[in-house]
């Protein structure tokens, strides 16, 4: 706002300029001046103020300045008076917003971001809530005792079930809403609730108008009153008359007072928004398409049922969700188990999983198994406790030969059974044999290695065959020989009679027999010679004869004791000079 002083002060500063410039530079200068003076005399300061005001209006810049001063106050004031500002601005703002979105969608998106989340949440909540209610209502309708009673009622009275339900539960329902052009009675727009049936709304619209007119005319009522309600049994029609349009609602049941108020509000809103279209209506309903959402606000329904907690729906939902969750849990458990079993079987050497599938009695793995490999069932043994809760794990095996080096080597060891001194190694399908063995094993090796899968060649560079038994026998024979040759039997002086010889025989006989056996086993023949000796008393001749007699006596005694004669073939004379009355043995092998 601006004050009067401001106006006049501004006026005086601005005044002289336009007059000076406007004045034509001609000979009539003086007369113009005179006229100016006269005017000033007659109109005085008023003239200047008025002149200045006029200039303000003509000068775009100055005019804008003043309007700018008051524009927000003006808008506020008008907004308090009525809603026309909203209607007037909405188109502009709508196109400004869409323009802004076209140029840079991000800006609006950023601005809306903080409110979008809550808005979306709210609307989802609302939708879920409604869906839950409907679901519950349906469940209750189809399950409750009351619904059975209603079905019986329907059957008894011959009405349809839905009709009975509606009658029993409905307080009211707005079935149709008409927006009617008041002057012509033509239909501008029409909305119907989903369940309602409608017949030719255009005709009904005209007819309702005709009835209105008819009644108004017939009873000479004053022109500004009009028909408010038509009532036919269960159905009533509520009218709200506006200057240019009528909103008529077809209601089943008992419409509440608020409904009239709502119709009024809607009609007022439509008048504000569509006033131009209403005034210029020539039969084209197109501009009124957008009244639909506003009219739909009137399609209200109120059921007699008290709103209860939707326990049935919740229960059903919870069961469903629970079942789904359980199924999912089971599925993942099973998948996890199967994966674990697969991993275990696959990482186990000598086992190859060829196939696996879910069968009726559990998960079936088809496995190729090398004879060397571990039993697959024992491989998955650690999983069995889990499996017992989820699904059975079954294995079918088929034999196969693994070609991994360790399996080829294992196979070779199993087949060849190498002795302790022999080591087997595998390098590039060649079996290397290190160490030594006896002949039979070497023969076995030569026969068997070509039959072992995975071995192509034999490396015997560090292997030798040794007949260890011969050496052993030699050793044994040497020992026996030494033992036998150390034996002595002593005679009494000048005698060649073997007496008290049990102890000696007990020693000598087993040794000689063992010698015989051992020598035979290596294909040799032992010969034990007995030679006698004497002391140095007596002549050489008698001593020689005595020594020979002593050797023979022992030979005979031993033969008597069971020594085979073939062993002691020769009795040798003792060549050594010894001063003792004894015999001793000498072993020769042939």
């Amino acid at each position: 706002m601006f004050s009067a002083e401001e106006l006049s002060s501004e006026a005086s500063t601005q005044r002289s300029q336009p007059i000076n410039t406007a004045r034509p530079a001609s000979e009539s200068l003086e007369s113009l001046d005179a006229l100016e003076q006269l005017r000033a005399l007659l109109l005085g300061a008023d003239y200047e103020i008025l002149y200045d005001l006029r200039q303000q209006l003509l000068d775009r810049e100055r005019y804008s300045l003043h309007v700018a001063d008051i524009i927000s106050e003006a808008l506020t004031l008008r907004a308090q008076q009525d809603d026309s500002l909203t209607d007037a601005l909405s188109t502009t703002i709508e196109s400004a917003v869409s323009h802004s979105v076209e140029i840079n969608p991000n800006r609006l998106a950023n601005a809306l971001y903080p409110v979008m989340g809550p808005a979306i949440r709210k609307s989802i909540q609302e939708v879920l809530h409604q869906a839950l209610d409907t679901f519950n209502y349906l469940l209750e309708q189809s399950l409750s005792v009351r619904s059975l009673a209603w079905r019986f009622d329907a059957w008894r009275t011959g009405r349809s079930y839905s009709e009975v339900v509606l009658l029993k539960t409905l307080v009211y329902q707005v079935e149709q809403v008409f927006l009617i052009h008041r002057e012509t009675g033509l239909l501008l727009q029409h909305v119907v609730s989903p369940q309602a049936i409608t017949k030719d709304p255009e005709l009904i619209s005209s007819m309702m108008t005709a009835i209105q007119d008819f009644i108004k005319d017939s009873f000479n009522v004053t022109s500004d009153t009009s028909l408010k309600t038509l009532q036919l049994d269960e159905v009533s029609v509520l009218f709200n008359q506006g200057p240019h349009a009528v909103v008529a609602a077809v209601v089943r049941g008992n419409p509440p007072a608020e409904l009239n108020r709502l119709l009024g509000e809607v009609n007022e809103q439509l008048h504000r928004q569509f006033i131009y279209a209403l005034k210029t209506f020539q039969g084209d309903g197109q501009p009124f398409k957008s009244t639909q959402p506003v009219l739909e606000r009137c399609l209200k329904t109120q059921l007699r049922l008290k709103k209860r907690f939707p326990w049935l729906a919740i229960l059903a939902l919870v069961t469903l969700v629970g079942a789904a969750a359980w199924w999912t849990y089971q599925y993942y458990q099973q998948q996890g188990l199967v994966q674990q079993a697969l991993a275990a079987l696959r990482s186990e050497p000598g086992l190859v999983v060829v196939d696996f599938q879910n069968t009726q009695d559990g998960y079936q793995f088809e496995v190729l198994k090398d004879p060397q490999a571990r039993d697959p069932l024992s491989v998955i043994q650690p999983l069995q406790s889990l499996a017992s809760k989820v699904t059975a794990l079954k294995v079918t095996t088929k034999p196969y030969l693994a070609m991994e080096p360790e399996f080829v080597l294992g196979r070779a060891k199993q087949i060849l059974q190498p002795p302790a001194e022999v080591e087997l190694e595998l390098a590039a399908n060649t079996l290397k044999v290190t160490g030594q063995s006896d002949l039979p094993w070497q023969q076995k090796l030569q026969q068997s290695w070509p039959l072992i899968a995975g071995i192509d060649a034999l490396d015997l560079s560090e292997f030798k065959v040794e007949d260890s038994s011969a050496a052993q026998f030699d050793q044994q024979l040497r020992t026996l020989t030494a033992k036998i040759e150390a034996l002595r039997f002593y005679f009494s002086s000048g005698s060649s009679v073997v007496s008290d010889a049990q102890a000696h025989v007990k020693q000598a006989l087993p040794l000689i027999l063992e010698l015989l056996e051992t020598a035979r086993s290596v294909g040799k023949m032992p010969q034990v010679s007995i030679s006698g000796a004497t002391d140095e008393t007596g002549t050489e001749i008698t001593n020689g004869r005595l020594a020979k007699e002593r050797a023979l006596a022992m030979r005979d005694y031993l033969l008597e004791q069971g020594l085979p004669a073939s062993v002691i073939a020769i009795v040798k004379p003792d060549t050594g000079l010894r001063n003792e009355r004894s015999i001793r043995y000498q072993v020769d092998l042939f």
Partner: protein, 169 residues
Amino acid sequence: MVLQKKICLLGAFSVGKTSLIQRYVNQLFSEKYLTTVGVKIDKKQVTVGNTALSLMVWDLAGEDDFTQIRSAHLRGLSGYIVVIDGTRQNSFTVALALHERVRTELGQVPAVFALNKSDLKDQWLISHEQIRTLAQLGYPVIETSAKLGLGVEEVFMGLARQLVPEKVN
């Protein structure tokens, strides 16, 4: 685009307004006379050029000594058909009076005159002179017979053609 238009049938009682509509909308005719009380409305879809019209046809009770056509019913009409019964002089007078009344109340509005019961032409009392006067009013004058279905289509289409804005066609 469908244009809705309100049209009215006017005329004295028993001239055959209801019969003309019945013939036009439902292709039916009845000799029985059931006078119309108040208003009866019918709908008929027609196409003129490339404009689809939805005609809301208001059948008003005929004028007689006791009944006057109500102004309220005339409000907002886009055009009207004045029906005259050729066998009754009085229906001509009433027709002219009604036409005049609409003109003063609503101004210049498309209209058509229907000279009904043309199947009873031998009983007609209306003179050629009168028909000429009618024609001079500047509106189409069409002879009709609701009974035989003659001229009925022409009457309604004659009006419909006047209802479509020039620029559209």
